[in-house]
């Protein structure tokens, strides 16, 4: 593991890992969505796809879906803007994938004399990067809406833009509280900060300073706005199946599949960000670089690789739990009407997140004396 090969492995290893995890999570979410909603609703859910009679609880459905989408007619409306129409789904998926890049999934890995940050791209302004990618994703939808030469699609694109802007503001403002508490725009730093004990003067080292505890209001605001950026129920006005079908009315085959995929990828990104910012990221309670250090004094020594593996596993576990919650929300809540979503974004989330910033600043001043 030296020289160029090592460099490449160090640079592309985390990228490959992120791509692998995000794409697979996104793919499997199509199955989770169907199965989880079915179980919540006393149904069985997708279970028909089989290979030689082996059904595996419907786990083959994502595969079947992919085959179906790849073999379907790739339709293009006669008056469509051909380039934009083709480009739009790629734009959507690209930014969905790219957004995950600066979310850290583990602490620094020390191996073969190298220090590898377990994060695809190490950025000082990681949070802003994720925000930027999420907000650029909307261009895919707007391109699709415009290029389809269909008024419903256009309406969907407009709604996507309006929703994106109103959710964007709330996300940015709610994150600011977290940034203030942990004093960095680097998500790795924020994740590390969450390993510190919360108010050691009072609680000792019993409670880790997870974002959920330091910024409870921001958590709810971020989660709500984050769901809005995934444009899934209850914020699915860009689609609005019952009224305008959405920006992808004219899409079929794999291009349509890519839009659906982008939704799931964004869900994964939101889950990852929530985990990184509010659920302690890769932090395992009481696990430090050398092993577990419990507040009652006991210690369990662990080798470095085991610690890192534990951290990565914990991160993935938290993301999966978060995905489950996001799915639960999607299948529990009814849709917001267009104006209600706008109202919620601008008159609910935005002022509350500003309030959160003010209160956080005040408390920080008091605490730091």
């Amino acid at each position: 593991m030296n020289g160029l090969a090592g460099d490449l492995a160090a640079a592309f290893g985390p990228v490959a890992f992120v791509m692998f995890v995000v794409l697979n999570l996104g793919g499997i979410l199509t199955w989770v969505e169907r199965k989880q909603s079915a179980i919540m609703q006393d149904r069985i859910g997708a279970n028909r796809a089989s290979i030689f009679g082996i059904r595996m609880f419907g786990l083959l459905h994502p595969l079947a879906d992919a085959i179906k989408m790849l073999t379907k007619e790739d339709f293009m409306p006669a008056r469509a803007d051909r380039l934009l129409f083709t480009l739009a789904p790629f734009v959507s998926v690209f930014f969905g994938l790219a957004a995950f890049a600066s979310i850290p999934f583990g602490d620094t890995l020390r191996i073969a004399g190298r220090e590898i940050e377990l994060q695809a791209v190490t950025l000082n302004v990681g949070i802003l990067y994720v925000l930027a990618m999420l907000s650029l994703g909307v261009f895919g939808l707007m391109m699709a809406g415009w290029a389809s030469a269909n008024n419903y699609a256009l309406l969907g694109g407009q709604r996507a833009a309006a929703l994106m802007i109103s959710a964007e503001i709330a996300i940015g403002a709610s994150i600011m509280g977290v940034v203030m508490v942990y004093g960095s725009l680097n998500m790795q730093e924020i994740a590390r900060g969450q390993g510190q004990p919360l108010l050691p003067q009072i609680f000792g080292s019993w409670i880790p300073a997870w974002g959920l505890l330091t910024q409870p209001l921001a958590f709810f605001l971020f989660l709500t706005a984050g769901i809005a950026t995934t444009k899934r129920v209850p914020f699915d006005m860009p689609e609005g199946e019952s009224e305008i079908i959405g920006y992808f009315v004219e899409y079929s085959g794999m291009k349509f599949g890519m839009f659906a995929m982008a939704d799931f990828l964004e869900t994964v990104v939101v889950a990852g960000m929530t985990t990184a910012l509010f659920l302690g990221g890769w932090q395992v309670p009481y696990l430090q670089a050398g092993g577990f250090v419990f507040p009652w004094g006991a210690t369990v020594g662990l080798p470095h690789l085991a610690v890192v593996a534990l951290q990565v596993g914990t991160f993935l576990f938290k993301v999966v739990v978060m995905l489950w919650i996001l799915m639960l929300i999607r299948w529990t809540l009814p849709r917001f009407r267009y104006d209600q979503a706008m109202r919620l974004g601008w008159l609910g989330l935005f002022p509350l997140s500003i309030l959160n910033i003010v209160v956080t600043g005040f408390i920080l001043l008091v605490v730091s004396g």
Binding site: D81, L84, L123, N124, V125, L128, Y129, L131, A132, S135, L136, V138, F139, M142, M143, G145, W146, L154, G157, Q158, A161, A162, M164, I165, E168, G172, L185
Partner: protein, 166 residues
């Protein structure tokens, strides 16, 4: 070496998209070229280690301003724009030499003054901290004024676009 290659690629991208914006008749294409252009400039900022600016550029310019542009185009759909006879046709032919002249002028100014002075050692103070520190110390007053400007713009937009209840 890698950075030079990257610069030239980005420069080509930025200039190409700018030309596309000016030349394309369809305003949506223009807006998307603008996005590409802004993204390219953001990448240039990154190359100059102005990471905060790069992110802000993408979020504010590409994420918000360009979205607003596209949104406005979608709402208005001026599909039949610039189809009639051009009342100021001569201006069109005048524009290119004028632009060339301006370019020449800028080039001359740049050559004569800025880069003839000796270059100070590049201690890159980029980063968020440096910018933040400047904004909240030296530039605190302009910062506050900017916030008022934004507020005024907010109210102005609402006043402009609100339809009167008939």
């Amino acid at each position: 070496m890698g950075s030079v290659i990257a610069f030239w690629i980005l420069a080509a991208l930025v200039v190409g998209s700018a030309v596309g914006l000016v030349v394309r008749r369809n305003p949506i294409h223009g807006a998307l070229f603008l996005v590409v252009n802004l993204g390219g400039v953001a990448a240039l900022y990154l190359m100059m280690h102005a990471e905060f600016l790069a992110a802000a550029q993408v979020i504010v310019y590409a994420g918000a301003i360009a979205v607003l542009f596209v949104f406005a185009i979608m709402v208005l759909i001026p599909g039949k724009e610039e189809t009639g006879p051009d009342p100021l046709r001569a201006q069109r032919w005048l524009a290119v030499p004028l632009g060339g002249f301006l370019a020449l002028e800028i080039a001359l100014v740049l050559r004569s003054t800025v880069f003839t002075t000796s270059r100070s050692p590049a201690t890159v103070p980029g980063g968020v901290e440096a910018v933040g520190r400047l904004l909240f110390t030296d530039y605190l007053f302009p910062f506050e004024v900017t916030s008022f400007l934004l507020l005024a713009a907010l109210i102005g937009v609402m006043a402009l676009t609100k339809r009167k209840a008939s």
